[in-house]
């Protein structure tokens, strides 16, 4: 048991991101309401962002990636262990922007669909299409 804990601590973040991803993907595939699918899509996207951010972080007192500099404008040796990896953060800023853009367009589409069919349930829309 005692040797299991290091393994769990070493990986649990990755496992839980997968759980989150599965929740999101399941909602996208199985939910019937178009807005619920949209929520699933957002959970899916944030889970990926969580994954990227997790791989950037460092144990052992690493701080935020802003270089501390004194009056000498920072011409000293920078200890990498003090700062987390900034690259995944940069990538994920972009991914968040993409996800909010997709969200905006999807909501606009949902409103257009509601204007036409007066419902957001997928099966009701399909039934209405078939009856025509």
């Amino acid at each position: 048991m005692s040797d299991l804990i290091p393994i769990i601590v070493a990986k649990y973040n990755y496992w839980l991101y997968i759980v989150l991803m599965m929740i999101g993907l399941y909602a996208m595939i199985a939910k019937n309401n178009l807005i619920k699918k949209l929520v699933g899509m957002n959970i899916f996207q944030t889970s990926i962002i969580l994954f990227y951010v997790s791989m950037g972080c460092k144990r052992g007192g690493a701080g935020i990636p802003i270089i501390q500099h004194g009056p000498d404008a920072g011409h000293h040796v920078i200890d990498l262990a003090n700062y987390v990896n900034p690259l995944p953060h940069v990538l994920m800023l972009t991914a968040i922007v993409v996800s909010v853009s997709t969200f905006g367009v999807a909501v606009a589409l949902a409103i257009r669909i509601y204007q036409r069919y007066k419902t957001l349930e997928e099966d009701e829309i399909l039934a209405r299409l078939r009856s025509k």
């Binding site: 991803m21 993907l25 996208m28 178009l34 699918k37 899509m41 899916f44 996207q45 990926i48 994954f51 990227y52 791989m55 690259l87 995944p88 990538l91 972009t94 991914a95 993409v98 853009s101 997709t102 367009v105 999807a106 589409l109 949902a110 257009r112 669909i113 036409r116 069919y117 829309i125 299409l129």
Partner: protein, 497 residues
């Protein structure tokens, strides 16, 4: 100036997109000319870039002046160059050809339409030219987001089709992003060349094949590969006709290009074929894609929907060819990107012309069309012959390479599927030709109404179609040159053994 072609190619439509969107509020009349300028500049630079690549070999460009693994680099070889040229030139031709339908369909939102149009070009061109895995994702989203909006402009069922496309497309994009994340965590790099040089040490790791699988599934969703194609027919057939003829030929082809780029430049040929051993299943899936696409196309009563299922089966050609694992198959797949883009855009432009005149695309409505629109129908027949694969049109040659490759690889099922799909295409096109040529013979008496008279589409819509149809034959004739100068240099040595 010469050194900056790869950047200019992207920023000319990008800057003009912003100007067009501002002009929509200042002087509406300028939107279309500016869009033509943007698209035309992009096409011109891509031709120049391709010429440079052919003369001097691959071109590298460092954006922001940072060297490759740290900054974002562009890497253009002959395959890139060809796809770039196809994308930007076809987008330009389509922009010119669909002027009248756009003006008729969205009189108030022309500015927004052309902004989205230009940004879509930016996305596709950027995806093709980039050498960075994450940059590819961002541009993929630019192209996808614009295509969702463009498709949903169609009215009627289009928003629903577009929302379904959005869900599928986002799943695809996210899967690709996950794959890139798995690559990044294992290698620490995002640059394609850099990742390729770091990967051989960890080929045995499970994370690498999972990364590849997820990238492949993601790209597969976006290119509508067989089990993941469900969004395509609705999205493309309910889209406005100017949008259908833009997105249908280009989006899927660029995604096929991305798949080939991942296969040969990021994960090497050794990994994809020798270590992973998924060549056979992929070819079987492609076989299924071709057969199912062709069969479903037979069941369609609407011309555009029929074309959509033809696209599904053509995607099967290209994916199957790329996964045959020999040089002929890969050559066929690359050549078919060029040919299929041309064939699809001619089909959709012809459909757009027909729709412009008779306001419907049900096959039953096409009666007597040969007499009313002879030029459009002649182009339609030429394209049909190319899709069937009749020499000397270009469709014959790519199919020839594909069949040779399949025979070399011993994939007789794939050969059978190719022949079956050619046969089905014969039936499909002759059914349309029969209705439109002979369909009105029995009703001809007493039908001298004005609607039976010649009513050809306007010249501005007809000339691009004629150019494209001529292009089908010209490319067919010059296939040998194209293969020698463009495709052979990029076929990896590991395939040619």
């Amino acid at each position: 100036m010469n050194d900056h072609y790869p950047a200019l190619l992207i920023i000319s439509p990008l800057l003009l997109a912003f100007i067009v969107s501002a002009m929509a509020w200042i002087r509406k009349g300028l939107c279309y000319p500016l869009a033509v300028v943007g698209s035309g500049l992009s096409a011109w630079f891509s031709v120049q870039l391709f010429a440079t690549v052919l003369q001097k070999g691959t071109v590298d460009y460092r954006l922001g002046g940072w060297e490759a693994p740290w900054g974002i680099g562009y890497h253009v070889d002959t395959l890139n160059g060809m796809v770039l040229m196809v994308v930007s030139v076809l987008a330009f031709i389509n922009l010119v050809a669909t002027r009248k339908t756009v003006a008729a369909e969205f009189p108030e939102k022309e500015g927004a339409f052309y902004t989205l149009y230009l940004l879509f070009i930016v996305g596709l061109v950027g995806m093709t030219v980039t050498g960075d895995l994450f940059n590819l994702y961002v541009l993929l989203e630019v192209a996808s987001l614009t295509s969702y909006s463009l498709i949903a402009l169609g009215g009627g069922r289009a928003p629903l089709a577009s929302l379904n496309y959005l869900y599928m497309g986002t799943i695809g994009g996210c899967f690709y992003l996950l794959g890139v994340g798995y690559l990044y965590i294992m290698t620490g790099s995002l640059n394609m060349a850099d990742v390729a040089s770091l990967l051989p040490a960890i080929y045995s790791s499970s994370a690498v094949w999972v990364a590849f699988t997820f990238c492949l599934v993601g790209v597969g969703v976006k290119m509508a590969f067989f089990p993941l194609h469900v969004w395509l027919p609705n999205a493309y057939s309910f889209a406005p006709s100017a949008v259908g003829s833009l997105i249908a030929p280009l989006m899927t082809k660029v995604m096929v290009y991305v798949m080939i780029r991942l296969m040969i430049s990021v994960f090497s040929i050794d990994f994809t074929f020798s270590i992973l051993k998924i060549g056979d299943p992929m070819v079987w899936l492609s076989t299924l894609a071709i057969v199912m696409g062709a069969t479903l196309a037979l069941a369609q009563k609407n011309l555009k929907r029929m074309f959509c299922y033809i696209i599904v089966s053509e995607i099967g050609y290209m994916v199957g060819g790329a996964w045959l694992g020999n040089a002929s198959g890969m050559t066929g797949a690359m050549l078919h990107i060029l040919n299929d883009a041309l064939m699809t855009i001619s089909l959709f432009l012809a459909a757009g012309n027909i729709y412009y005149r008779i306001n419907g695309l049900e096959i039953a409505q096409l009666q007597g069309l040969f007499h009313r629109m002879p030029v459009t129908m002649a182009c339609f027949v030429a394209t049909g012959l190319s899709i069937i694969g009749v020499p000397p049109t270009c469709g014959f040659f790519s199919k020839w390479y594909l069949i040779t490759g399949a025979l070399e690889a011993g994939q007789y099922g794939f050969v059978g599927a190719l022949l079956f799909s050619s046969l089905v295409n014969v039936i499909l096109f002759f059914r349309v030709i029969e209705v439109s040529y002979y369909g009105d013979m029995q009703h001809a008496h007493g039908h001298g109404s004005p609607s039976e008279a010649r009513a050809e589409a306007p010249a501005i819509m007809l000339v691009p179609l004629l150019i494209l149809s001529a292009g089908l034959v010209v490319i067919g004739i010059y296939t040998g040159t194209i293969v020698n100068t463009v495709i052979d240099p990029v076929i990896p040595a590991a395939l040619a053994r």
